[in-house]
């Protein structure tokens, strides 16, 4: 699954496709969508999650479009992180967690018995709320995924390209051997993004990636996410509704109890939400 050739091709062809989608987005939404329907890359079908006896997600179904930014918002404890961790089966690491339903990546249900969660996580990268670089050099941090996947050949070019994509290369090119822990919080988070994209995953999951950062670093991360969406499918959890409105194409609103109450184009969700509860939540937050 992790053979290099096909992914490299996919990468080179990506810019044309993405420029096409960008121009589509600029136009009037509904009609263009009909002209070029989005391909679904992640699809949840009736996902329920329990932690022991407590249900954290109830019957969640949604279709995440490829090479778009999909935001997930909702009050604390409503299950956003839980849903994100279903997608790459990080929930497997939690003994108490139990998942029911189907979660398709492409056409394969990742909860099928024959799916190897390790192989899955190599195709679905994740960036966490708190920057968590390894206590290793900047270079080794980015190369880690390549090492464990036994990617052949020198890693230098991939490390450089990943750091460039994560908008960090210029700041670190002279200090690749320094510890990743010596970077600032915002730089560390971009390092974690570089680390996650080095192995060229299909989907990038981000759990409040900017919430531990100051406004400037947050801006940088937001710009970065919009750029990344040209090549990757980004699914991002955020508490910041302006952020969701700014950077996402689709927005999913979860509410307390683990329900997915609304899932639509971001503009639709923020301008004319279908559900009163969602409207209350959004306007309440905006004051």
């Amino acid at each position: 699954m992790s053979n290099e050739e096909p992914t490299t091709e996919a990468r080179t062809s990506a810019p044309d496709r993405s420029s096409a989608t960008t121009s589509v987005d600029a136009g009037e939404e509904t009609s263009d969508r009909a002209a070029e329907p989005d391909r679904t890359i992640v699809e949840a079908r009736n996902i329920d999650v329990w932690y022991d006896e407590d249900q954290a997600l109830r019957d969640v179904s949604m279709e995440v479009p490829e090479k778009k930014v999909t935001a997930m918002i909702g009050p604390s404890g409503c299950g956003k992180s839980t849903f994100l961790r279903c997608i790459n089966r990080m929930n497997d690491l939690v003994d108490a967690a139990r998942v029911e339903g189907e979660l398709l990546l492409g056409s394969k249900n990742v909860y099928d018995a024959d799916v190897d969660p390790i192989a899955l996580r190599r195709r679905v990268g994740i960036v966490f709320q708190k920057p968590n670089p390894f206590p290793k050099s900047i270079y080794d941090n980015v190369a880690y995924g390549l090492e464990i996947q036994d990617v052949e050949g020198g890693h230098d070019a991939i490390v450089e390209r990943s750091l460039e994509r994560a908008a960090l290369w210029e700041e670190v090119e002279d200090r690749l051997e320094e510890s990743g822990l010596e970077l600032s919080g915002g730089q560390q988070q971009r390092l974690c993004i570089a680390r996650a994209i080095a192995t060229d995953p299909e989907v990038l999951l981000m759990d409040e990636p900017a919430s531990a950062l100051d406004p400037i670093a947050t801006n940088q991360i937001e710009d970065l996410i919009e750029d990344l969406a040209e090549e990757y499918t980004v699914i991002i959890v955020t508490h910041n509704m302006q952020q969701a409105a700014r950077i996402s194409d689709k927005t999913a609103v979860f509410l307390t109890g683990g329900e997915l109450v609304e899932f639509d184009d971001t503009r639709q969700v923020f301008e004319s939400p279908q559900s009163q509860r969602v409207e209350d939540y959004i306007t309440g937050k905006f004051g």
């Binding site: 790459n88 990080m90 690491l93 003994d95 390790i118 192989a119 899955l120 996580r121 190599r122 990268g125 994740i126 966490f128 708190k130 968590n132 670089p133 390894f134 206590p135 290793k136 880690y144 995924g145 090492e147 464990i148 996947q149 822990l181 974690c192 680390r195 996650a196 192995t199």
Partner: protein
Amino acid sequence: MSTDDLANELTRRTENAPQELLTRAFFFFCAVLSIVTTVAIIVLLTTEAAKFFSLTASLLGVEGQTVSLVDFFTGTTWQTSTGEYGVLPLVAGTLMVVIGSAIIALPLGVGTAIYLSEYASPRLRSKLKPALEILAGIPTVVYGFFALIYITPALGTVLPDIAFFNMASAAIVVGIMIIPMVASISEDAMSAVPDELREAGYGLGATKFDVSAGVVVPAAASGIFSSFILALSRAIGETMAVTIAAGSQARFLNPIDPTAYLEGAMPMTAAMIQLLTGDITGGGLAYRSLFAIGLTLFAITLLMNVISDLVAARYREEYE
């Protein structure tokens, strides 16, 4: 509450209440007592050892037989009856215990720690950790006769040349003895590695082995190293088990020759026991040699502790 009451309350000085002062004095006394005891032991050890060496004895103006520093530290024969006080055979004996026990305890201890911290379920861990601590609580004399009665015969089935008293069984038994120490301290260090780092690894598609060996162990390296130093210090100071298992013949063996381990020898601690249990006359040369060995032993363990502290200080912020 009136303003005066408030002023009174704010100026009460709880810190200086009698019971506060009393408890402070008591804890201060405890702290001082342990420091004073340590200093007293070091002073005693040093002054008595000083009377053993020609150089320092003459400086102190002490009468009686002495041994030169050079003879002591480079002599290859330890035979008190003939007045030969070369410490090298004893140091070699101790070194053999350290090397042999390290070969056993370091890999097994770290392996145990990795299993407990990364692989075992919380339930299993909560059972295994106390079991380890029980292993650490077995009296060392029990380990000693265990070596003599079980380990030596078992080794004898594969190595018929092995002596009844031999360094191999002593080193093995000390190795077994210090596994819990390595395992327990290393496990603490590994458990302290934040879960965020593990999640980072798993999130990139790492296997359990990748995360344990490539993320957790390097991040906990300074703690693991400390466990080695502490455990090996214990191996150096271990007395009962080695005295029983290694015998009391001060042979000068080569610690890096594997066949040497089939023979018996006398580590430093065993030599001290022999001196203490033999008929040593108070104030005589043999009596003073006890302190010379003791001081040498102390110097070695002190050095190891200093190294351990330096390493810990240098690598402390591995994941902060």
